[in-house]
């Protein structure tokens, strides 16, 4: 009995410790963020941010677009096969448009970015830890939080919502292609329907989510890197952890945000 309690207690403390570290890191980064901004901040940080924006955003664009197009087709086809039985095929348009802007666009993007960039943050920072590069930054009076984390976080905050928008567009485009080939619905008419079915609120809630996802991915990835202890095997483990934990937390956060938006729209 005592060992069971002990195990539960240890695990709980570990998880609390993790969440606490994430929060501390988030605040420290927000405080250091000013230096990464263009014009007012340090120009080397802004350059690093721009480089990160290429790596997180531009390089991921083909993959995110393709994922969104595939998912758009899947959603349209699965929806159509059921909705056709009720003669409500045109609801596929609503399904794809609302489903993507509110939910799938940001979520798919977050999963792609956490796999691509979350893991690379952890690997990069973890390697720097192992090779004493983090220590040498510190003794050179350059705080790793400001030097490494702030540019990455700012870049993620900017690019992940942008990628989400691209993902929304691709998904809706895929829905349009499906409707064109299955019912010969004219593309312009399709887009008219799409614009009728989504409201601004859908887009904004989607973007709020993607900002939250960007925060989770950047901070979990970097925290895993900073927590590396020991040798190269530890870097590998923390890279895996970064992807697993950030994907998990993204989905949990998605559920929480969706619940909040759902409850606020009813009242």
């Amino acid at each position: 009995m005592a060992t069971v309690l002990e195990n539960v207690g240890t695990k709980t403390i570990e998880h609390l410790d993790y969440v606490g570290s994430l929060n501390i890191q988030l605040w420290a980064t927000l405080r250091a963020m000013g230096s990464a901004l263009p014009f007012v901040g340090n120009r080397y940080r802004w350059r690093a941010t721009a480089r990160q924006m290429f790596q997180i955003g531009v390089d991921a664009l083909p993959m995110v677009s393709l994922m969104a197009i595939c998912t758009g087709f899947i959603l349209a086809m699965q929806g159509a096969s059921e909705l056709r039985r009720f003669g409500a095929l045109h609801y596929v348009i609503d399904l794809v448009a609302v489903g993507f802007t509110r939910e799938l666009g940001p979520l798919l993007t977050a999963i792609a970015v956490s796999g691509r960039s979350g893991s690379s943050f952890a690997a990069e920072i973890g390697t720097m830890k192992v090779t004493e590069e983090l220590d040498s930054l510190r003794v050179m009076a350059l705080e790793p939080v400001e030097f490494i984390l702030a540019p990455k976080y700012l870049a993620a905050l900017i690019t992940v919502p942008c990628l989400s928008i691209a993902s929304n567009l691709c998904g809706i485009l895929a829905g349009g292609l499906f409707m064109f080939f299955s019912t010969r619905l004219a593309p312009l008419l399709y887009f008219r329907y799409v614009l009728d079915s989504i409201v601004l609120r859908d887009v904004i809630t989607g973007l709020i989510k993607s900002v939250a996802f960007a925060t989770i991915i950047a901070h979990v990835g970097c925290l895993e890197g900073f927590r590396v202890r020991g040798g190269p095997d530890s870097v590998g483990r923390s890279t895996t952890n970064a992807v697993v934990k950030s994907t998990f937390l993204v989905i949990v956060a998605d559920a929480v945000f969706t619940a909040i938006f759902y409850l606020t729209v009813k009242s």
Binding site: D135, M140, A141
Partner: protein, 267 residues
């Protein structure tokens, strides 16, 4: 007044005492060699002097400021007057050699780019790497990496130069060259140099004073000649390369004897 003074420094990792009440004064302009075997606490002491870790108790004063208790801002200012070359060189792999050296100049000074280029060239010329400025760290040999790390440590013209195992892993010729370089730097720039090493020839070549660590305590502190003449058994053991208890033939034999006579082994 000593430039660095350590008082009653105690460091513990997980309840294991690594440094046990150290006292040491390092005078301005002297070369202090911290000598000791593996696991004697040299690297831990160095991390304390660089304020990379906090001690359990005791104080480390650098230029009159207690770095174990001072604010982050004070530490940042203080760190600009300390240059560090780590054991693994810890050059930033993503930057070329010249960018590695230029990093602190760009971050902490407002010098014009042309002046920075000139300073970088001078620092690289001092360590004999002026022709290799454009290369990346992974393209350098071990000795060149260490020299590049020294050049980077010198970038801001520090008052205190800290070298962690400068000659470890280098062939005797390159190691000797590095010793001459250290002597030259001290001569030319009047720096206080702290060298952590376990290489005796190197220690006796460069040291003004030697502090010998043994199991977390100083067993002897003195000038080169004092250490050479020391009758302390631990110093003598180190200087005369007498093996310790770890692999005494009799002990090994006794161990196997015992193992063979235990019932489990027989069964």
């Amino acid at each position: 007044m000593p430039i660095i003074s350590i008082r009653d420094l105690v460091v513990e990792y997980d309840g294991r005492r690594i440094l046990d009440g150290l006292n040491l004064d390092i005078e301005h302009g002297e070369t202090m060699v911290l000598l000791g075997g593996s696991g004697s606490g040299k690297s831990t002491l160095l991390r304390q002097i660089l304020a990379l870790e906090r001690p359990k108790s005791g104080s480390v004063h650098v230029k009159g400021t207690d770095i174990t208790r001072c604010s982050a801002a004070e530490l940042k200012t203080l760190r600009r007057s300390i240059g560090v070359a780590f054991q693994s060189a810890a050059l930033f792999n993503s930057l070329s050699v010249e960018d590695n050296v230029a990093l602190t100049l760009r971050e902490h000074t407002r010098l014009a780019p042309s002046i920075i280029d000139l300073v970088v060239w001078m620092k690289l010329a001092v360590v004999g790497l002026a022709d290799f400025a454009k290369l990346h760290p992974q393209e350098l040999s071990g000795g060149m990496k260490k020299r590049a790390a020294v050049a980077r440590a010198l970038a801001l013209g520090p008052e205190i130069l800290v070298l962690d195992e400068p000659s470890a892993g280098l062939d005797p010729i390159v190691a000797a060259e590095l010793d001459e370089l250290i002597l030259l730097l001290k001569e030319a720039f009047q720096m206080t140099v702290i060298v952590v090493t376990h290489e005796l020839p190197s220690a006796f070549r460069i040291a003004d004073r030697i502090a010998m660590l043994y199991q977390g305590r100083f067993c002897s502190i003195g000038t080169r000649d004092e250490i050479k003449a020391s009758q302390d058994p631990r110093v003598r053991q180190f200087l005369n390369r007498i093996p310790g208890n770890i692999a005494k033939a009799a002990a090994v034999a006794a161990y196997f004897e015992k193992y063979l006579h235990t019932p489990e082994a027989a069964a």
